[in-house]
Symmetry: C2
Subunit: 388 residues, 2 copies
Amino acid sequence: MQNFTLSMPTKIFFGKSQLDVLGEQIKKHSGSKVLICYGSNRIKEDGLLDTIINLLNESNITYSELSGIQPNPRITSVREGIKIGRDNDVDFILAVGGGSIIDCAKTIAAGFFYDGDPWDFFTDKAKVKDTLPVAAILTLAATGSEMNGNAVITNMETVSKKALRTSRITPVFSILDPEHTFTVPKYHTAAGTADIMSHVFEQYFSTSEDIYLQTKLCEAILKTAIKYGPIAMNEPENYEARANLLFAGTLALNDLISFGLDGDWSVHIIEHAVSAISDLTHGTGLAILTPPWMKHVLDENNAEKFYNLAVNVFNITPGDDKLEIAEKGIDELQKFFTSLEIPAKLSEVGIKEEQLDEIAKIAVPSEPIGSFKELNYNDVLEILKTTF
Amino acid sequence: MQNFTLSMPTKIFFGKSQLDVLGEQIKKHSGSKVLICYGSNRIKEDGLLDTIINLLNESNITYSELSGIQPNPRITSVREGIKIGRDNDVDFILAVGGGSIIDCAKTIAAGFFYDGDPWDFFTDKAKVKDTLPVAAILTLAATGSEMNGNAVITNMETVSKKALRTSRITPVFSILDPEHTFTVPKYHTAAGTADIMSHVFEQYFSTSEDIYLQTKLCEAILKTAIKYGPIAMNEPENYEARANLLFAGTLALNDLISFGLDGDWSVHIIEHAVSAISDLTHGTGLAILTPPWMKHVLDENNAEKFYNLAVNVFNITPGDDKLEIAEKGIDELQKFFTSLEIPAKLSEVGIKEEQLDEIAKIAVPSEPIGSFKELNYNDVLEILKTTF
């Protein structure tokens, strides 16, 4: 087990009616003028936005709004948010939505006091220093962004999707009410489930040694996603399913299962390249790419990890032929994603064959990616061709 | 799943040589005059105390000492610590040891600014208000106290052992170096393993609904304790085993597996009564009492939980007769504790038969205890007689 520092500053208010703490919590962090960041019409239609605005009014907190933030949030939205925030002299950023909204809000918080362009944070041209406090009202089980210091932003001009990691943008609090996820459509519930599972896989497939405990925690989260993803899709107002998925999503990427190990993150890097050029839903891209990545990297030396996944998570009968059982596990994962009605091929989601080369180049601009097994341009192109 | 608030303010520095952060972290919390709290000679003999003192000297931090804190820490030690702390005008409390030391240090921190007797906190006569910051250097995998707001203290005059729970005494940071547990003797490694497992059982056996994720996390920690407890006993300097046990101990009682549910805690209440009159090692008492508690409360209505424990943790072959398999699981747990060389009977650890009645009365002074299944005085006496 590697050395680590565990620091979890985000306070999570989980459960029914937890929105009631909103005003008091914003004030606790000296907020009085809030920038509300959101995307879709869903939170307008289901009344959540009105409820939030009423709560702010009751607490004498003023607000301005940045709406229309898209999935794979754009740096242009970040710029717009910073401008609205400055024009209205806001002192607190509130994200209402899933990972895209929260990531955009965090980057606005990071860029608010910075004189240059916020894309500089993603090109290592600038480091995040002073930030505004940011909080999240989560409406989709998937991201983990509600309890970590990560933000992923897309720049359409440079056709790139990059990640920022700094504890300075970790939310001060997040509100997780499973009922706020009742209106998530079937397709996005499936993609969110795949996203949660992919976050776990990126940490499960680690070459770090002596991480039995973390491995078992990973399997606990995977089993939860596999059990409740389909239930939430078919019974959108099943509180048990939505609650277990929501908490699983947080634990999959709030560092809990990353303490003491190095993750791989190849599939995320490749998916970021895919969605940078296609605007594909992140979780869908991850589900398409994960089984082919697994088949590509599986070999006799690392079969044990895949074998454990097959036996412990997919209940494949143990046996002597580790490779065979490992492959059965990967097939089961593919079947599971198919059962969630997620497309299995990039060709089914609008990617053209001639784009594969460009995707591989974006994913591997120079140095190989991944740590569980290093992948170069040719490896990534091969994986992409398999998924086509 | 019940509503919950997740708040984890303790920063954990985990791994080799993490002690190096000590001076900087104490200063970060405005400490300059520290009260070091410790118990046994072990930390003197293995050089840890000298190392700590050197680090404090290098950081120009002065210190005074409270030594000789016993297992089942006494309120008299707390009073002594408060006096030494006040005489030396300390501004920071540093625990070096296992749960007993940390609990004593936390209570000193709580009582430092209180004019009355610190036992008042345990009898609800007073509430904890202002406290000194407290930190822990953990030297035993067991307690969880390094990352929670609990303290358990024994009062020999009133023959009682009581718990205090307040976030005000949660450590500001804790240092967990698995190498600091290399010198833990075999007997205490076994008792610590049982302690970790008991903490998990108290939360696993919950009547709260819709807690699949938490249940799976519990099983992950149990499997880790079962795998590494025996290895750590037989190979005391096995870093992998010590590291996994140490982190498992923290996760077993840092609230992670308690979010969203009510725990039972009957076995802890009964054990506190046993060790209040006998000074038995806490983990040993828990190991003796847990299987008989399980057999006493198991019935057709709750057999599913015990069945899951048997199948998922003790690898018993699944089957139709839930009760039979549940009982096999309990037998496996008993065998595991026996394999750790932990006594199976209270009579083997110096308890006299005529004391059983007194223990039951201390454990159940009036209202029934437990929530998974309520236990009255007669239930507890029956459990105690089974263990005799």
